[in-house]
Amino acid sequence: MEGILQVFLRPQFPGLLLTHVELSALAVALATLVALPVALAVRNSPLGTAIAVNAGNVGRAVPSLALLALALPFLGFGFAPSLVALTALAVPPILINATTGLREVSGEVVDAARGMGLSEAQILRDIQLPMAAPVVFAGVRTSAVQVVASATLATFIGGGGLGNLIVEGFQRGDEAILLAGAISVAALAVATEALFGALERALTPKGLRLARRRRTK
């Protein structure tokens, strides 16, 4: 126990944690920048939606270690190759949820808005985006938790992060270092899940929340 605490108090520990958070946050941000425009572009096309969702499903099946390891022969060791691989890993859940979320905003609601004289831009901004927001954000949350977990593997291609501690623990046969790495990564993942869960609730429009509560009664 004391050994584990000592690892947390090492001067390098904050740096490892920071790299881990940086890698994860940048990957999710970049993936959102890639996935959201695609989802918006295909929102009125059933074929485009089907292609995006299927591509997302195949992408989600790709093992995270496979993606990270593949970055190595093509991009080399380090932070940037890890970031590229983690971004690729972060795209599918956001793409799937954003596409289906925007698609699920029911036709009648959009029709009613159109009948009220709203422009397409207004419909997107005032109707489709707010109603799809919880689903879209659920995708970002799934993606974020997955990326924080996979960023642990960045250590294998020299990307740094808390995975370094786990590898060091294994290599030196030191249980304290091993467990310190494992506990900190697990805590970071659980904290990410909790944070994004809270954000998701905050992002759900009040009307939707009320409607959902009424439906479950």
Partner: protein, 236 residues
């Protein structure tokens, strides 16, 4: 940004062509095939155990609803823990240690959330009228469960099996780090030796296996939905 010396050495190796096909031919029977078979074995055993645990648990918590939230919370918490961290914790437990057993324990743990959740959702999706009708026909609760509820819940359960399978195949690659074997062994050996062919062979096969399992189970899931089949017209 200056490339690290290791990257330079690696990129120079890449010049003549990324894949060393001669290596693949020479080592197919000795390295590649056993890794693939080992991977399928690890994933299969883990899924079988996970199903054996999750199906009864799902049926039970679907009946005793009070048990559902804590079970899902616990399984969800387990699911959130990154696999490398879970492996690291497991190997420090006396009696577990490194090797395939630790990997199988972790893979079972990861599968339980999806499998229990989908079993319960599947049972919930059975219309109460159907159960009433079965009861009216004189079926015992046991018969209702096995002949009515579980068959009707099957598509949702298979959907869970599909997610669990893809997850397990992916995480099993990481298990090679704690001597679990499988395709991850090729990947880690390739990284250690800076030998792209091994990395690509392991990564490509793991991806192909996961995608194949995903598509295969998706087709099975569709087949199991009689209403979808009816809508499709021709049946089989």
């Amino acid at each position: 940004m200056e490339p690290a010396p290791a990257s330079l050495a690696l990129l120079q190796r890449l010049e003549p062509g990324i894949m060393d096909w001669a290596w693949v031919r020479e080592n197919f029977a000795e390295d590649i095939l056993p890794a693939l078979v080992g991977h399928i074995y690890l994933s299969g055993v883990s899924l079988a155990i996970a199903l054996a645990v999750s199906l009864p648990t799902g049926v039970l918590v679907a009946r005793y609803r009070k048990a559902y939230p804590p079970v899902v919370f616990l399984a969800g918490l387990l699911f959130t823990i990154p696999s490398l961290a879970l492996f690291a914790i497991l190997v420090t437990i006396p009696g577990v240690g490194i090797g395939p057993n630790a990997v199988i324990i972790a893979l079972v743990a990861y599968s339980i959330l999806v499998l229990v959740r989908n079993t319960v959702a599947g049972l919930d999706s059975v219309p109460p009228e159907t159960i009433d009708a079965a009861r009216g026909m004189g079926l015992t609760p046991r018969q209702i469960l096995f002949k009515v509820e579980l068959p009707l819940a099957l598509p949702v359960i298979v959907a869970g099996v599909r997610i669990a399978t893809v997850t397990v195949i992916g995480i099993a690659t990481i298990g090679a780090y704690i001597a679990g074997g499988g395709l991850g062994q090729l990947i880690f050996d390739g990284i250690d030796r800076l030998f792209p062919t091994m990395i690509i062979a392991g990564a490509a096969l793991a991806t192909a296996l996961a995608v194949a399992a995903d598509v295969g189970l998706l087709l099975l899931e569709r087949r199991l939905r009689p209403w979808a089949r009816r809508a499709g017209g021709s049946g089989r």
